[in-house]
Amino acid sequence: MKNVKILLIDDERRLSDSIKEFLESQEYTVDQAFNFNDALMKASVYDYNCILLDLMLPGGNGLDILRAIRKRHDNTGVIIISAKDSLDDKLSGLEIGADDYLPKPFALPELSMRIYALIRRLEFNVDNTITAGCVTIDLPQKCAQVNHQPLDLTRSEYNLLLFFVTNRHKVLSKAAIAEHLSGEMADMMDSYDFIYSHIKNLKAKLKAAGLSKCIRTVYGMGYQWEE
């Protein structure tokens, strides 16, 4: 994917800058908007592949921006990022045409993975595969191959592999991995140790397919995909 442009609409500058920093390190081009009018102007004048939309904005409701985007474009992905933990907003957001909803606080690798998956979905409908080194992931089929050898992965292992590959070279914290694998259940657990066995199994399967040392343990923090 080349030159993916993202519009980040969030009034919280400190948050916005950090998200921008992370996404730019993944070769995305990120524009920021900090208030309603600015956001509405940018969303209606420029073309973006993906818009990250906070709902509580000075000067207006983010849902109105979503309406304006949906009137104009059909091919812009919209992910609502909101700290307002309100089901009404989630439902009306998805109803108006948001593609995804990510409640704050979220882990940046999780956001990055959702953006990646969304853009792939919008651009490649049928032949949607990701290649990372000798690993190929078929998104619609939810299966993976190493050197054209199919891997027999569990659901968790597949999700884990996809999370690693879409965040290659990034250090992924145990918490981010745990939440990615099991949603809100992860935070109810006393520790994130349950991810060990999934990572161990995935490593073993990759190794059996001839791919070792691609998942590196970063001591004290988490894991990292290296090619």
Binding site: F22, K104, S156, M185, M188, S197, G220
Partner: protein
């Protein structure tokens, strides 16, 4: 007790009282008739010494009296019936309209119904009071709702900022192992703080009745949707699901049901033992989640209290079961805890 309209009851009581009073007044009427109307005739008979007269005054008086009385009773009863049939209907019309408007009132819709204007003082006062109460509750509901949503926003935003800063910091390749480990711990604390604030807000939202919307939900589907995530966190714990519910649907709030199920199953994982077992049994009316554990039986009187921690468990935020209980109360379900056959069992009766 049999329920009747106000007009009907009024009419019935009026008729019964009328009858009773008329019956009671028979001696009085008899006395009046004999002493005043028939007095002269009786005097004449005794004065002129008419013995054994062909006229039977006593009996005639009595019969006449009865005829008079019954015609009065019939006329009055008929009038009462006719008047009561129509007059209160018209008088109570604005009251019934008020009742109808009230029945459509829902505080979460935020709309105060327009009560009808009336020229009856009591009804006008009633309508004024009701309008004031409804306006107040709509306003305080809105304030509460906004407060919890804003509180959520205000709490989650700093947590979100801190978390993304750490996400970026973690990518720094020059970090030492010790720094990395410290960052990881701060990160985990942030996640727990965020979880804690979400849980507290959920509890306060349940108490403020902010989950009004109920839909018909097949509980078995919800449990099946949770299973993949549950299996991910369960590790070597076996999960058995016995579904005898025949896809029975239950009217409940979707968000709350999801939260209750998640809390129950995660609880069963957290307190389990290595190579343990989770047994979920669903019937049309009941859900039982049972788990093996090395912990001794819990105290049923306290396990559902907020921030309750057993000596064996100091790690959790102590809100999971309080949320489950609160959701059960909200739906008027009952939850019970048993410790049998070395299993900790939670049973929710959903009807």
């Amino acid at each position: 007790m049999k329920e009747r309209t106000l007009a009907h009851k009024l009419m019935a009581r009026f008729a019964i009282c009328l009858m009773a009073m008329l019956v009671l007044s028979i001696p009085l009427l008899y006395y009046i008739t004999v002493r005043y109307y028939a007095e002269d005739l009786i005097e004449l008979v005794s004065k002129y010494g008419i013995h054994d007269p062909q006229i039977d005054l006593e009996e005639d008086t009595f019969t006449g009296l009865l005829i008079q009385l019954s015609s009065i009773v019939i006329v009055i009863t008929l009038s009462v019936l006719i008047i009561m049939r129509w007059v209160p209907q018209r008088l109570w019309r604005s009251f019934r309209r008020t009742l109808h408007e009230l029945s459509t009132f829902k505080v979460e819709s935020g709309v105060v119904p327009q009560l009808p204007t009336t020229d009856i003082t009591e009804f006008r006062q009633l309508n004024d009071t009701l309008t004031r109460i409804m306006t107040d509750s709509v306003r305080s509901y809105k304030v509460q709702k906004e407060f919890t949503e804003n509180a959520s926003h205000e709490l989650q935003t700093p947590l979100a900022i801190a978390q993304v800063k750490l996400d970026n910091l973690m990518q720094d390749e020059t970090l030492t192992e010790r720094q990395a480990s410290e960052i990881q711990q701060v990160y985990n604390e942030l996640r727990h703080m965020s979880q804690l604030s979400r849980n507290l807000l959920l509890l306060s939202k349940i108490e403020n009745n902010q989950f009004k919307e109920k839909t018909s939900i097949v509980v078995a589907d919800e449990i099946n949707a949770l299973l993949p995530h549950l299996e991910t966190i369960a590790g070597d714990i076996r999960i058995q699901l016995l579904d005898d519910s025949h896809n029975t649907a239950i009217a409940c709030n979707h968000v709350l049901l999801g939260s209750m199920l998640t809390n129950l199953v995660v609880n069963a994982v957290r307190h389990n033992k290595p190579n343990g077992l989770i047994h979920i049994h669903l019937t049309p009316n009941e859900l039982t989640v049972a788990n093996t554990s090395d912990d001794p039986p819990l105290d049923p009187a306290h396990i559902f209290s907020r921030f309750y921690r057993t000596p064996h468990n100091q790690k959790s935020n102590g809100l999971g079961l309080a949320i489950v209980k609160s959701i059960c109360d909200y739906h008027q379900w009952t939850i019970t805890y048993h410790h049998t056959q070395a299993l900790h069992q939670f049973t929710v009766r959903m009807r």
